[in-house]
Amino acid sequence: MDVLYFAWVRERIGLPRERVESDAATPRALVEELRAREDRYAAAFADLSALRVAVDQKLTDFDAPLDGAREVAFFPPMTGG
C-alpha cells in the first residue's frame, strides 16, 4: 500500500510518501511495524493521540480495518480555515 505523511509527520520521517508491503490489520498495527524500522519513525509516531489517520482518503481511527486499503495517511490534527 501507499503510506503518506503530512506536515510535521512528513518532516520527522523525511519523506512525503512511500510504498510499504504490510499485512497489518489496522493503522495501529501498521504504526507498530513502522516504529520498529528506524528512530525517525519512532519519533514521528511517539504519541498517537497527537496524530490522525485517513484510509483511502477517509478520516478514520487507528483500529479501523485496513483490509484492501490502497492508501493510508498519517498527519497531525488539521488546521485549515
Binding site: A7, Q57, P77, G81
Partner: protein
C-alpha cells in the same frame, strides 16, 4: 433543495470581492448571503504562511462538508475556496459563501462549514515569523466547536 456546490482548492490568489459578486449573481432570488473570509494575520511578527494539503482527500472532504450543510439547511448555493502553498500576511487564505432564502439558514450553514473545514479538511498551516517556521497547533476549542452541531 439540491444546492449547487462550488468547491475549489488552489494555490493561486483569488479576488474575494469578485467571487462575492459572482456568487450573488448566480444565486439570484436568494434573499440572504453570508460569507466568511480567512486572512493571514499580521500579528506576532508573522510574515508569511505555508499551507500543506492532501490532494484528492481535500476536495472530497470539502465536498462532503458542503453537501452535509446543504442537507441540514435550506440553501440556494455553497461556495468554498481554499488556497494552499505560500501566502503572505494580509492575503486571503480561504472563503466560504452560502446563499439562502432566510438569513438564519445562511448564517448557520456558513458557521457550520467553517467549524468542520477547520478540523476535518486536510490542511496544515505553517507560520513563518522572525524566529523561523512552526506548524500551527490545532486548538482544543476548534475540536470542541464540532459538538455544537
Amino acid at each position: 433543495m439540491s444546492a449547487p456546490l462550488d468547491i475549489r482548492v488552489q494555490a493561486e490568489a483569488f479576488d474575494a470581492g469578485a467571487e462575492l459578486n459572482a456568487f450573488a449573481a448566480r444565486t439570484d432570488g436568494m434573499g440572504a448571503l453570508v460569507t466568511f473570509n480567512g486572512i493571514v494575520r499580521a500579528d506576532g511578527g508573522l510574515t508569511a504562511m505555508e499551507i500543506e494539503h492532501y490532494p484528492g482527500m481535500t476536495e472530497a472532504a470539502l465536498t462532503e462538508i458542503a453537501a452535509e450543510a446543504a442537507q441540514r439547511w435550506s440553501l440556494g448555493a455553497v461556495l468554498v475556496i481554499h488556497r494552499h502553498g505560500a501566502l503572505r500576511a494580509g492575503e486571503t487564505i480561504m472563503m466560504v459563501a452560502t446563499a439562502a432564502p432566510h438569513r438564519a439558514d445562511a448564517f448557520a450553514a456558513a458557521d457550520f462549514l467553517m467549524d468542520f473545514l477547520k478540523s476535518r479538511a486536510p490542511f496544515w498551516k505553517r507560520e513563518l515569523g522572525p524566529d523561523g517556521a512552526s506548524w500551527v497547533a490545532a486548538k482544543d476549542s476548534d475540536e470542541a466547536a464540532l459538538g455544537r452541531w
